[in-house]
Amino acid sequence: MDKINVLVVEDTVSESDALIASLEANNFNVVGLATNFKDAISLYNSTNPDVLIVDIFLNGLPEGINVAEAISVNPDSAKPFVFLTSSSDRQIFERAKLTRPFSYLLKPFNELELFYAIEMALEKFYEQKDVFLSDDEDTVITDDYLFIKKGKALKKVLVKDIIYIEVEDKYCNIITEKEKFVINISLVKISKLLNPDQFFRTHRRFIVNVSKVEEIILSDNLILLSGGHKADLSDNYREIIKRVKTL
């Protein structure tokens, strides 16, 4: 699992120091610190952050809102962000609110509030409500990554690295080239959110990444996967065969 990349846009040194220290202490990867609009845009383009933390007031002007507007204007390259502010000025907030999705953090804040705001930003942005806060689930699924809550912090896994998923009750075992781990998510939800052209049900308990299939042995009802992994194939889920043949 990889660390989450965070881009911080904050012009007060003492505050950005504390914020970065607290993020890094909890295994977030701070990819950059911008102190004005221009740096924020160029760092955003060059660093590929997963989430941004943006102070609304930069050098006395509400330029943070312009940053948010600029990064969310194109839906293909937009990223979730958290607004940071020490003012609860109503008009500023009303303007910021138009730049949706909206997650904010009022200074002074503690670590719990910081992580909560980041989690809320991810949930709202990817439109998967009530994931990190409920006891039943801990994973937000996007086209490129799984965002997983581990303890206090968040981690991510590249979707295309997944070889297969094995379901056990309420848990899913995720198997990648490098590691194996458990996430809490229901089978219904995970099969709805994963790309149906890439992931196929092959069995009551198995979901397989079609690009990792090496061979299908029909006589044994077995699928051989890269890295020496195996998955069962049952009669009810045979759609994958058509797909593998056409490859």
Partner: protein, 583 residues
């Protein structure tokens, strides 16, 4: 419906000039100016820009003869371009199209000139000949001439033009694509006014497609994008407000619609007023000149009949009249400003009353705590001099608890002031009660350990309530502060939730501390009392915290009650509206 929305499309023509910072000539005007390499050309371009069509026509005809003599191809295409512009301004559209095409056919034509020629051709077909089908091919040709190095002015001019024509031809997806391209450029260059116009264009686009909610969102974005709201963008703001009215009317939100129509009309009135002021100034100038002329004539005539004295009287009468007029005008202005000042005074008075009340309450407590700090510091210094190290630790702890108390007081004071002046952002949303309690309690871990208080948060993780996040945190913070204040070492504070009925969830903060008498309890629950009597003199408190809690709970549509027994402990109960069905 579409007729209402035609006018915003005209914005781009007037706005694209106001600039991006670039060194190269970029706008059409700058660019042509840079090509004009002779005085005559400069003059022709200047006359054209000022709409002196006849004079520039003569000059251009003259230059044409010159250029044919000179055999300079560059010169020729530029002259043809200017001639095309001339015909266009003269409304001879067909002739203009011919001339532009002729200019484009010269193979020496410069890329930038060709770009603006294609744009002009497209524009003529939109607004002159009104044949929309022919427009897009010209714009597309212009687009081919763009590359990544092209100035943002040119790109945005073209994208907006393409957006407009696609909107007119009802190719909504295309139009949206180009508007977003333009918008992206403006936002990346921090051009908020132009971005506002693009937001508004997008709004029109969605409205045309009956996506009313999206249209409204973009109109709101447009109106919020202005960094300054002044007379330079008043026309735009009036039209956006009118569009917001139309959207809300279409959605059936008539109250909101009327609000926007009123704003639009007010802005219209101020535009009218502004124009009227100019007109009146003009008229009065003319009038003054006429009057002066008349006077002169009368004077001459009367001089002939030797009645100079009469003239003197007439002139002075006129002056007096003018003075009277001026003084009446100023008197009226003064009455107007007086009215404004008196209403401002009233609001200031009420604000001051609130502030005075607070000031008197808080200053006493603030002074006593700072005073305590002062004397404690003096003891500290004394102990330091006598090297009484054991005492230092205890004194520092006292100091820090005094400072904590004073900080909480100041924090509440600020929150109270913000609540009274309605400056805070207040937005009721769904929240998990457990998380909010955890967030607040995180800051108290140290204090609990120090006072050896056993704390327990057993709020159900499933309980969701409707409240404003920050104000609810302030409420919880104050109630926990209170609980800590009135407990002693080894006491227990527990926070838990209870379903009251199908609409409310109770958040209960219970302590096993000192408790209070029934009189104090009723006093605390009273609407007006700000200052409550202190039972324990060593405990700093004003009742401001509880009062703030009550106001904020009321604002969150909640209820508040207290159960307490002297010596056994207190329960503070906050009932909050339940969220959703699964709460």
């Amino acid at each position: 419906m579409s007729a209402k929305f035609l006018f915003p499309l005209l914005f781009l023509v007037c706005f694209f000039f106001s600039g991006f910072s670039q060194h190269k000539p970029c706008t059409k005007k700058e660019f042509i100016e840079s090509l004009c390499n002779s005085d005559k050309l400069h003059k022709a371009h200047l006359l054209l820009s000022n709409n002196s069509l006849e004079e520039s026509f003569k000059l251009i005809e003259n230059l044409k003869l010159d250029s044919e003599a000179k055999q300079d191809k560059n010169f020729e295409s530029l002259i043809l371009f200017l001639e095309g512009e001339l015909h266009r301004r003269n409304n001879s559209f067909k002739k203009s199209v011919e001339t532009y095409k002729l200019s484009l056919s010269k193979n020496t034509i410069n890329n930038d000139l060709a770009f603006y020629a294609y744009i002009a051709l497209g524009d003529i077909y939109i607004s002159g000949i009104r044949d929309f089908d022919k427009v897009i091919p010209y714009y597309k040709k212009a687009e081919l001439l763009l590359d990544k190095e092209s100035c943002p002015e040119k790109q945005t001019l073209l994208y907006n033009a393409l957006g407009n024509i696609n909107l007119l031809s009802k190719n909504y997806d295309e139009a949206e694509k180009y508007y977003i391209k333009g918008l992206e450029l403006y936002l990346n260059n921090n051009k908020t006014t132009q971005a506002a116009i693009n937001y508004s264009n997008l709004g029109n686009l969605y409205f045309e497609q009956y996506k009313d909610a999206k249209a409204e969102e973009y109109f709101l974005k447009a109106i919020n994008a202005f960094q300054k709201k002044d007379s330079t963008n008043i026309n735009v703001r009036q039209q956006i407000n009118y569009n917001l009215f139309a959207v809300n009317e279409a959605k059936g939100y008539y109250k909101t619609a009327i609000k926007y129509l009123e704003t639009s009309n007010t802005l219209k009135d101020s535009i009218w007023n502004r124009d009227k002021v100019w007109e009146i100034a003009d008229l009065s100038k003319k009038l003054a000149v006429e009057k002066k002329n008349q006077e002169l004539q009368v004077l001459e005539a009367e001089n002939k009949v030797k009645s100079a004295q009469r003239n003197g009287i007439l002139v002075s009468a006129l002056v007096l009249l003018a003075l009277l007029g001026v003084s009446i005008y100023y008197y009226r202005e003064k009455v107007k400003t007086n009215k404004i000042i008196s209403t401002q005074n009233e609001t200031l008075d009420t604000l001051n009353a609130t502030k005075d009340k607070l000031f008197s309450i808080v200053s006493h407590d603030l002074r006593s705590s700072v005073n305590a700090l002062k004397s404690s510091n003096r003891t500290l210094v004394n102990n330091l001099e006598t090297k009484n190290i054991e005492k230092l630790d205890e004194l520092l702890n006292t100091n820090s608890s005094i400072v904590n108390g004073a900080y909480n007081l100041l924090d509440n004071l600020l929150n109270w002031a913000m609540l009274q002046t309605k400056q805070t952002y207040f937005h009721i949303e769904e929240h998990r009660l457990y998380m909010l309690v955890e967030h607040v309690v995180f800051n108290y871990q140290g204090l609990f350990a120090e006072k050896e208080i056993k704390f327990e948060n057993s709020v159900s993780k499933k309980d969701k309530i409707l409240a404003d996040q920050e104000s609810l945190k302030i409420i919880i913070r104050n109630l926990i502060d209170n609980a800590i204040k009135f407990t002693e070492n080894n006491d227990v504070i527990s926070v838990y939730s209870k379903v009251e009925d199908e609409n409310y969830i109770q958040l209960i903060i219970e302590d096993s501390g000192l408790g209070m008498s029934d009189n104090t309890r009723l006093e605390l629950l009273k609407e007006t009392s700000l200052l409550s009597k202190k039972e324990n003199e060593d405990v700093i408190g004003t009742g401001l915290g509880i009062q703030l809690c009550k106001s904020m709970i009321r604002k969150n549509n909640g209820k508040f009650s207290i159960e307490s027994q002297l010596g056994k402990g207190t329960k503070m109960i906050v009932s909050l509206p339940k969220a959703g069905d699964n709460g």
